[in-house]
Amino acid sequence: MRVALFITCVNDTLYPETGRAVVRLLTRLGVDVDHPLGQTCCGQAHYNTGYRHEAEPLARHFADVFGAYDAIVTPSGSCAAMVRELYPRMGERARAEGRGDTLARTLAPVVPKTYELTEFLVDVLGVTDVGAHYPHTVTYHPTCHGLRALGLGDRPRRLLEAVGGLELAELPGAEECCGFGGTFAVKNADVSAAMGTDKVMNAASTGASVLCAADNSCLMHLSGTMSRLSVGMRPVHIAEILASTREEPSA
């Protein structure tokens, strides 16, 4: 099986350690993962801000770069949801606008092959115990697009529960949005900050030392809020926890 890593533009630029963790994890599980260097961005920020026509070339570029692989794995629920939920919708809209089937046909091949990391582990590889060791108390925030658009359900939770040494603390109000929302974070900064503060205070109330999620963009917002509030927690992407072992522990 030819597996490609779609790192996402945010991770590529700001969180390379998450990408390295995915590579370590998948390699350990016997997956030969490739990272096509032509990849850039799924176009979600453009699409969700109302620039569908600017997102279309990015979607076509994505399909071009990843079309030949058997599976495309990404450490982001949000970007996976963009490909799986919104690429078909973009194709439909183009058709409804009288622009024919070209876009829909171009995007169709990558849609069913794109997996968020925990989905790929549980559904495709069929593992929940990935042999990880992470001796910390962790609370898990299910990010919205993973939770509601992809329906990740308890997959991340099952993976975390199987991690050696890890103690999982229940996050109050877990299913409520953290307030990031892409450009919402700056367009509606006051509401966004209020939501972020509530999420961080809920996380801090668990006594956990680590706030874990499967999306670094949400964690970027929460991390920035945490350091201002000085709550003494750190955000960690789930890939870094799952990649951690006794021999090679993640921070």
Binding site: C9, N11, D12, T13, L14, Y15, P16, E17, G19, R20, V23, R24, V33, H35, L37, G38, Q39, T40, C41, G43, A45, H46, Y47, N48, T49, G50, Y51, R52, H53, E54, A55, L58, H61, R89, A96, C144, H145, R148, E175, E176, C177, G179, G181, F184, V186, K187, N188, A189, D190, V191, A193, A194, M195, T197, M220, H221, S223, G224, T225, R228
Partner: protein
């Protein structure tokens, strides 16, 4: 605070005050989390909820697709049952019709059933200008009216008020409108309800004209349906001599059988009740029982224009349950008033810019009043994909395009204030289809990382006012991959 929404600022400014108002935040948090929890329990009781939701969606979509036919069927049935049907293209026409009908009775006061449609058109203000006093009889609407306030929720319009505030309003204001509240009124719910009951009772017994909306209109028989919890609505629907109902055209359902679906999904979604306490249904007039005259004012006011939009029309499925408000984290913090409309919350954010257009600051900002978290879509009992419509309306605001206004197709220009954003989106689209440009940008950012400021000026301040920026790493993932051949060569160049 005035009773209208004219001249509202854009959502972010309107929300700012609410976000920093601790009392309001506490009131909203308490109320929405309570009702949210109860709704989840009430919905979980039904094993066929998903099927009911799908059925509700399909009934509404079918009706909307053939609305012309069903409205004419409804008109015929109402007329045959002794009612009179009036057609109102917009708010002004509806207000003119209702004012004329009240004046024709010679009365100068009316009792009102809780109604979103009459608030949408500003009927109370229009009646007041014509010298007619309208008494709101829903308990929460009474609180809003006495407080010279605005509703902040579809179902519980005074959700932003706590018991102490309500007692103060009753004590100060009831006397101007009729029977005063007792001097020793406390803030216990039973005493507050009793004060309202006594205050309203004299109005029910005296007033000759009732005005209502309706939750549903059954086309096959011309039957109107009002569901409510207090019984005050039924008083207004049965005691007056003349009943005038103002109803949005999208409230039509084809048959009685269709009610079976909505009378299950609406109460559970809105008040978390298995069945609402009062379901009033009436068909025209009946000799010796109830109002002697019945008028139905069918209200368009932007609905036909909304129907013309293939993506946006799903908003017309809404049955006004307000489950989306109760679950929305943005609503919980911004409060209902920030939405600048009688329709607040996620549904308001997609209804108002369609019914009113996107010309005003508030209407152009509403599509952005969401993180697109999807909680609203998940709870919607008629499966309105609110995030989909929000994004669609963002496109309309940012890019312009064809819309229907007053039955005519017009091409909208992009909204003011989005020029810089448009340029940025175009530039990033170019860069992101040229991987080399992205790499160059990343390397520049990495090389200059020690000089990155922690607080940004201008628009960036919106981020750094409350959040630190992430540190730019010395090397992007892509560069690491290339340098180490996907981690197979270690940092010193040897193989792993």
């Amino acid at each position: 605070m005035s009773g209208t929404f004219v001249g509202m600022p854009a959502f972010p400014e309107a929300a700012r005050g609410a976000v920093h108002n601790a009392t309001l935040r506490a009131n909203l948090r308490h109320a929405t989390t309570t009702i949210r929890r109860k709704r989840a329990v009430a919905v979980a009781e039904l094993s066929d909820w998903a099927e009911l939701r799908e059925a509700g969606k399909q009934i509404k979509d079918h009706t909307l697709r053939h609305l012309d036919r069903y409205l004419e069927q409804l008109e015929d049935a109402v007329t045959a049952a002794g009612g009179t049907v009036h057609w109102a293209a917009d708010a002004d026409e509806a207000n003119r019709i209702v004012t004329g009908l009240v004046k024709a009775t010679g009365e100068t006061e009316v009792v009102k059933v809780k109604s979103m449609a009459t608030q949408e058109i500003g009927l109370n203000e229009a009646l007041e200008a014509a010298g007619i006093r309208a008494y709101e009889t829903d308990l929460a609407e009474l609180i809003v009216q006495l407080g010279d306030d605005r509703p902040s929720h579809i179902l519980v319009p005074a959700i932003h008020r706590n018991r102490g505030e309500i007692r103060d309003i009753f004590r100060a204001e009831m006397t101007r409108w009729g029977r005063p509240a007792p001097d020793d009124l406390t803030d216990t719910p039973a005493e507050l309800a009793e004060a309202a009951r006594l205050h309203l009772r004299e109005k029910f017994l005296r007033t000759k004209v009732g005005i209502s909306g309706a939750n549903f209109m059954v086309a096959e028989t011309g039957t109107l349906v009002v569901v409510e919890s207090e019984g005050n609505g039924r008083m207004c629907l049965t005691l007056p001599e003349t009943l005038i109902s103002v109803v949005g055209i999208e409230k039509t359902v084809p048959t009685w059988r269709d009610l079976e679906v909505f009378l299950q999904t609406l109460p559970r979604s809105s008040t978390a009740e298995r069945m609402n306490p009062y379901t009033s249904m009436w068909t025209g007039t009946t000799d010796g029982d109830g109002p002697r005259a019945f008028h139905l004012v069918l209200l368009d006011n932007g609905r036909t224009d909304t129907l013309a939009d293939a993506v946006g029309r799903q908003a017309l499925r809404c049955i006004r349950c307000s489950a989306c408000l109760n679950v929305c984290p943005v609503y919980e913090r911004a409060g209902g008033h920030a939405y600048g409309s009688v329709y607040p919350g996620p549904i308001g954010a997609i209804l108002s810019p369609q019914l009113r257009g996107t010309d005003s600051d508030i209407d152009a900002s509403l599509p952005y009043a969401s993180t697109l978290c999807g909680a609203c879509y998940e709870v919607c009992p008629v499966a309105i994909d609110i995030p989909e419509v929000l994004v669609h309306l963002r496109e309309r605001v940012a890019q312009g395009g064809q819309v229907t206004r007053a039955g005519t197709k017009v091409v909208l220009k992009p909204a003011r204030g989005h020029a810089a954003e448009r340029a940025a989106m175009r530039a990033t689209r170019w860069a992101l289809t040229h991987p080399g440009a992205v790499r160059a940008g990343q390397r520049l950012a990495a090389r200059t990382r020690r000089f990155h400021p922690s607080r940004l000026p201008g628009p960036g301040k919106a981020w750094t006012a409350t959040r630190d920026l992430p540190a730019v790493p010395p090397e992007s993932f892509g560069d690491w991959w290339k340098r180490t051949n996907g981690g197979t060569r270690d940092e010193r160049g040897g193989s792993r």
